[in-house]
Symmetry: C2
Subunit: 393 residues, 2 copies
Amino acid sequence: MKLNGNYARLSDSYLFSNIAAKVRAYKEAHPDEEVVSLGIGDVTRPLAPDVIREMSAATRDLASEATFRGYGPEQGYAFLRDAIVRHYAEKGVVLRADEIFVGDGAKSDLGNMVELFGRSRVLLPDPVYPAYRDVNVMAGNSIHFAVGNGRNGFKPMPPYGKRFDIIYICSPGNPTGAVYTREELKEWVDYALATGAVIFFDAAYEAFVSDASLPTSVFEIEGARECAVEFNSLSKSAGFTGMRCGWTVVPSELADGALNKMWLRRQTTKFNGASYVVQRAAAAALGSRGEKQCRESVEYYMSNARVMHEALTAAHIRHTGGVNSPYIWMQCPKGMTSWEYFDLLLNKAAVVGTPGVGFGRHGEGYFRLTAFGNAEKTARAIARLVEVTSSLK
Amino acid sequence: MKLNGNYARLSDSYLFSNIAAKVRAYKEAHPDEEVVSLGIGDVTRPLAPDVIREMSAATRDLASEATFRGYGPEQGYAFLRDAIVRHYAEKGVVLRADEIFVGDGAKSDLGNMVELFGRSRVLLPDPVYPAYRDVNVMAGNSIHFAVGNGRNGFKPMPPYGKRFDIIYICSPGNPTGAVYTREELKEWVDYALATGAVIFFDAAYEAFVSDASLPTSVFEIEGARECAVEFNSLSKSAGFTGMRCGWTVVPSELADGALNKMWLRRQTTKFNGASYVVQRAAAAALGSRGEKQCRESVEYYMSNARVMHEALTAAHIRHTGGVNSPYIWMQCPKGMTSWEYFDLLLNKAAVVGTPGVGFGRHGEGYFRLTAFGNAEKTARAIARLVEVTSSLK
């Protein structure tokens, strides 16, 4: 057998295992202290009542022969794809059901979509969600970075004069919480069209955008149907991290229709559809009543984000995000690396966050906070974080 | 963007859409006639009571904050991997939990596993489940066939003197229903070890084996831990075709431990675990009570297989399978292609099956019947099939 040699070029990631080991050691040494994590990337609120009701009904369907469902369409049931079409229509984006592919989450599709391309020059933001990089290392692609920093509000703009095959954009961004404006996204679309690139647009955090002037789908931008694929997920908007359901939009214009056909072929060959009960639950989450219920959890998280954002602002601690995004990307105190700041916070404030360097070289000196925790704990933790951080000045 | 040129080398498959179109046309012309399908590849019996009970309990867990579950381990929850370890222990196969990877079905894993290898020479049986071939075309691998025919009981044996990197074996086989004996499988394992190949062993139909002398896992064979990966699924054994849950075993000995680590890395990077409720349901299906309940459906299907097998045997129609397998692979009447026989059966007996040529060049002249239908309808349909076929002699 011949192994894929690209795997040897992956760098091991110990980010979250290192964090877990440090937290464990601290808790063992301080058994009576409350350690609060502001580093949770997972949701914590239960599923919406309508979602639970629909899952229970779907479960009952599977219990009797007359209503049993076996294999479903690989690209998703029509009832769910139609619900997704309506979800886009509400923001003025017109899609056909056969441009939508239901999957088991954005992570799978973002990784698997790379298969449709030959060896590619790939442009990623730095800092970045590490899986974007790793799936391209596995494919043997050459990886280039567009640096996001304080000067561009952590929103890298097109590197004019250079060409890439695949461009990754995540907006609202993980880890920085930065959100592209309509005009900025238009620049990326125009650049992709001019250079023949495809944009992989990760819209997993769209539900956290409350400012109506900000785009929540790349297809709100003229020309995007000719150059972009969009990945979305119910993980954060409806609490589906453990349910596993997302979708990918492959417009029929892309590569003269070739890409939509290729993805259909890929999915029908290597995937057998998302679970029936999960698809029923997903349709409920996108229904008018279910969506309202899901919004309550999103607002709960955004209230956490606001509390953190206001506390940091009052203390003059530089940061982005926390508005239109569940992530806050804050500057570490002067002269501290992100791991040094992590250690300080854990030991002096019993607060856990995520060192920015875990998201790329240009994440060094920054720190990620998330809004997915319990409200009372989050409020206590941000107060302790501000106190410890301010005392350093 | 550069598209993956291998996709252009895929041949379009119209097998099932052609069948559907012919059946539709027949039904329109004969609205009052009962058309029975003996071509169903999907299960039709409802889920077991214990599985339903556990899914309902898991759904309730997701409805409240205290019991909510978000992201799970990408390789599957410990409770399910431990249940799978016990499932193997019952047949005398000792596995470690970290050699087991829970996924959303064998189809995904069988396709995705190819990524761990560089350009490979791949050996497939012919006839074969078409996805095996397509995923290797997509990867740019060179594809070679080991012919299964009446002379070898549709169980091709190693092509001594030739070398391949990846060897696919499905036993009990789809579409032929043939089951390798322990001795035959040992030949394949020895051949793989001698030539440095890896075996992809598809055990999706193991639950249909009732003859205790036949192996139901490649790991019952000495040496397999050094050369084989095994794919399994609850689709047919527990009726999970719409639920989506399977597992893959990657022994720690393979490629000196490299393959297990690579698959773990692949799954943690491009997959986020099977749905929590589905994993709870899967554990119930593997529990002692749940397994007994699932066996009742397997026995229902195997009773259909027996009825078909006995009817064909009594009429001296040559076939394999139907014993230790839910598939029957029968010879078409002399001089008829598999599509000609399909048309004859549809028009004279109102019975639908699957033309063997859909599974490869060497499937021409054969016809696949499945045992997944309703018992009364299956009995009526096989009687009509036998009558029409015998009248040709």
